[in-house]
């Protein structure tokens, strides 16, 4: 028999680390960052002859129906009824984490607690009486240090015991006090009259959620013969409680947590830790943002300048291959291999070093726990502008790729907040845009190239914030929900972990190179060389570019740029590939030099900004449709990005020309 085991808990408590440790071969992304897991992940393992199906649920702070990720986790437990629910608790933050335990006990789940980060709790001066805590909660508890693989075998033992109903701990009934219990009982009595509901869901949990006015549960009772009687019962019970039941119950849960911890937790005097010292500056009122800017600038300097000779090595390699292919007797085949494969695909591959170096930098910032601080300091600005601070987390994730970043918006409560974040996320510069920036900045800005690249990332953030503000004031009016985010402890990033994370992100580029970019190179070569023998300007690519070029003339873009931007809708890197092929077919090998001969720095900067701001790729369009569930908003986003890109490009061209840089 296979037992199903769900892993659940607050964000950033080590769920993914435990999942990877107990599921052989699992490679879930792990980072010092809340909200990495937005979809449930599954794996299998065998422990002492017992087969277990492990399901990693998204990390959430609560189990309400307000955020998509909370609903995913809750529905899984309610509907799928896993044999065991492993609640992973951050032992160094036990008070808040235990609140969640009560939510799971209300669901009548078969809970096993992993008291993770036990070492950090000890460092903080926490002395936890695990046996006493287990007795009071009525669930088995195993202290673990997942990162050091400590306690995980014992945890698996307890999971198997619990799954086989051999649990050695007696489950006590949670008692919220006479008034609340009476209110719950009165609703339970009505619910039990229904033939279906008590079979499907735990009656006590349904009653609590109905009292809390949970929209999802209110939907569940619709159509019940006893709906009106239930509604009457809820109103009566709410009146008896004298306050909003949601608040009354939350208070009571916290009271119970305090009572339990009074006998099972001793805190030594708070120590002044390295995390305290670093946070004193990293989230400082005035220094926080300049330090954030400095760290990002250092990251781009590293990615751009340190990768330059390695780009040269790869570039020279493909250049020599392209030259060698000129000797192929068949003219069409020689052009295909030389211009299409080596000139196009080979050219884009020269950008592997900066992409990997940038991802290494992001991984170090993420693993250290700094990125969470970046979100925290940006929240100050965003909240002042009437925006949801939580929105900045998906924005930062967008530095890697916009698709998972848009999926990460599921953790945002409130449909309007989430929609705003989804709409502006494509303005955050993903890794795919980097080759375009490096090509253009390297050609036009010399020693200022790093700063030009770095400025694109900040332009993206600024445009995203301003548009979010505009949307908040116009189409999606409302007040932002308060932002609560736990700041993880700082950790010294290990070289191995950072390289693994760099590889996880960078390999996406390599996969893309072997699929989309290769296909793109073949198609682009065909469209740029046929009709065979014609000048590239008269090729199919030339015709497409020239048909649209008048629209972009005010920005200074000619048919080559326009054609490359059209093809880049598939993936942004294709813009570079397209320019590579067009110039290769024209007989140019030094593309940077050819760009300088054709355009000026103002057009170059406008092109970088346009590439940054128009819709990232078809995958993000698909993700927008999936996440918003609306074609209307998806089309709106496509149009919005195109309009913004065009307007910003026009502004850059206008200002640059007026200042004499053209």
């Amino acid at each position: 028999m296979v037992y199903t085991v769900a892993l659940i808990g607050n964000p950033n408590v080590g769920k993914s680390v435990i999942f990877n440790s107990i599921v052989p071969g699992a490679r879930q992304h792990v980072g010092n960052w809340p909200g990495k897991t937005v979809e449930k992940k599954e794996g299998k393992c065998v422990h002492k002859g017992t087969e277990l199906k492990i399901v990693d649920l998204p990390g959430t702070y609560s189990l309400t129906a307000r955020a998509v990720d909370e609903l995913v986790s809750r529905n899984y437990i309610v509907e799928e009824k896993p044999d065991v629910v492993v609640h992973i608790i951050d032992a160094s933050n036990i008070e808040r984490n235990l609140y969640f335990t009560f939510l799971l006990l209300e669901l009548e789940a078969n809970v096993v607690i992993a008291l993770n980060m036990f070492d950090v709790a000890k460092e903080k001066g926490y002395i936890i009486d695990v046996k006493q805590l287990s007795k009071q909660l009525g669930v088995p508890i195993v202290p673990t240090v997942a990162t050091a693989n400590e306690g995980l075998d014992k945890l698996k033992d307890e999971i198997v015991y619990a799954a086989q109903k051999m649990c050695h701990v007696t489950k006590p009934k949670i008692n919220y006090g006479q008034t609340i219990e009476d209110a719950i009982d009165s609703v339970v009595r009505i619910l039990k009259k229904d033939e279906k509901l008590p079979q499907k869901y735990p009656s006590r949990w349904l009653a609590i959620k109905l009292l809390e006015n949970d929209n999802d549960v209110l939907e569940k009772i619709k159509g019940s013969k006893y709906q009106s009687e239930l509604e009457g019962g809820i109103t009566k019970s709410t009146e008896a409680l004298g306050d909003e039941p949601e608040f009354v119950l939350a208070d009571k849960r916290y009271d119970l947590v305090s009572d339990i911890l009074a006998t099972s937790l001793v805190k030594e005097a708070k120590k002044w830790t390295i995390t305290d010292m670093l946070d004193k500056v990293f989230i400082h009122k005035f220094l926080g943002i300049p330090v954030f800017i400095a760290l990002f600038w250092a990251m781009f300097r590293f990615a751009y300048d340190a990768s330059a000779p390695f780009m040269e090595i790869i570039g020279l390699f493909f250049e020599s291959l392209a030259k060698a292919s000129a000797g192929i007797p068949n003219e069409v085949l020689a052009s295909f291999i030389g211009d299409g494969i080596f000139g196009g695909l080979g050219f884009i591959l020269t950008f592997i070093p900066p992409i990997f170096f940038l991802f290494l930098g992001i991984s170090v910032l993420e693993d250290s726990g700094y990125l969470a601080r970046a979100a925290f300091i940006m929240d100050r600005i965003m909240f002042k502008l009437g925006l949801h601070g939580r929105s900045f987390i998906p924005m930062l994730l967008g530095f890697g790729c916009n698709v998972p970043a848009m999926m990460a918006t599921r953790s945002i409560e409130g449909e309007k907040d989430r929609l705003i974040t989804l709409l502006v996320n494509p303005f955050i510069s993903c890794g795919a845009r980097l080759p375009v920036y490096i090509l253009i900045a390297g050609a036009f800005f010399g020693p200022m190239a790093t700063t030009a690249v770095w400025s694109m990332y900040f332009l993206g953030i600024i445009v995203a914030i301003l548009l979010a503000l505009l949307l908040r004031k116009t189409l999606l009016k409302g007040e932002p929900a308060p932002f609560i985010m736990e700041l993880p402890l700082y950790k010294a990033p290990t070289f191995r972990a950072s390289v693994i994370h760099m590889w996880e992100r960078g390999v996406q580029f390599l996969k893309k190179a072997g699929t989309y970019l290769l296909a793109g190179a073949i198609i682009l070569w065909f469209l740029s060389t046929f009709p065979w023998g014609a000048e590239v300007e008269l090729s199919y690519t030339g015709q497409i570019g020239q048909a649209l070029a008048p629209l972009f003339a005010p920005l200074g873009f000619d048919w080559r740029i326009v054609a490359s931007l059209v093809f880049a809708l598939l993936a942004k890197e294709i813009a570079v590939e397209a320019l590579g092929i067009i110039y290769a077919v024209e007989g140019e090998t030094a593309i940077a030099g050819a760009l300088v001969a054709s355009y000026n720095p103002v057009i170059g900067y406008a092109l970088m900004a346009f590439t940054l701001l128009y819709i990232p790729c078809v995958a993000t369009i698909g993700t927008m449709k999936k996440e918003s569930g609306s074609w209307k908003w998806t089309i709106f986003q496509v149009v919005l990005t195109l309009v913004v890109a065009y307007v910003v490009g026009l502004v850059i061209t206008g200002i640059g020309t007026a200042l004499g840089y053209a």
Partner: protein, 157 residues
């Protein structure tokens, strides 16, 4: 809670000197590099050379980053002088940022060395002293004091 006040004054003086040095060299990088930024090529002050080597590179944004590091050091001076332990945070983070820039500039220097060894076109005239920026040697000045501040037991109460 804090540390010995006399020691605090010593740490404050040290942080002040390092902070001021970072700020001065940051301003110099901006002044030397201003012409490159605005495209005229004419700097506010001429390039500062020592034995034919550029001591201060023309780098406006690099200069701004040095000023930020200097500001972090300087912000903690008052609290350090009072013997408050929070003041040490600024020395720690200032040196932490200085170390990051030191590391980045060092890696760039090594990468440029690779370009030079392979004799690539853009690196033919490169010499390692060109990359010996204030961000590198200022960190070497900041390191001993930071190390002592966090390791000398007699400094802490």
């Amino acid at each position: 809670m804090g540390f010995n006040k006399n020691v605090g004054t010593e740490i404050a003086v040290y942080s002040f000197v390092i902070g001021i040095l970072y700020a001065i060299f940051g301003i110099l990088e901006i002044l030397v590099g201003w012409g490159d930024l605005i495209g005229t090529g004419v700097s506010i002050i001429p390039p500062l050379e020592l034995a034919g080597v550029n001591v201060v590179p023309p780098d406006v944004f690099g200069g701004i980053m040095l000023i930020i590091i200097g500001a972090v050091y300087l912000t903690g001076v008052k609290q350090q002088a009072k013997g408050e332990r929070e003041g040490l945070s600024f020395l720690l983070v200032g040196s932490f940022l200085a170390a990051i820039f030191f590391g980045v500039y060092l890696v760039i220097m090594l990468a440029n060395g690779v370009g030079y060894i392979f004799q690539f076109e853009d690196w033919l005239e490169w010499i390692w002293l060109d990359d010996l920026r204030p961000g590198i040697w200022l960190f070497l000045l900041a390191l001993p004091g930071t190390y002592l501040a966090f390791t000398k037991k007699k400094w802490r109460e």
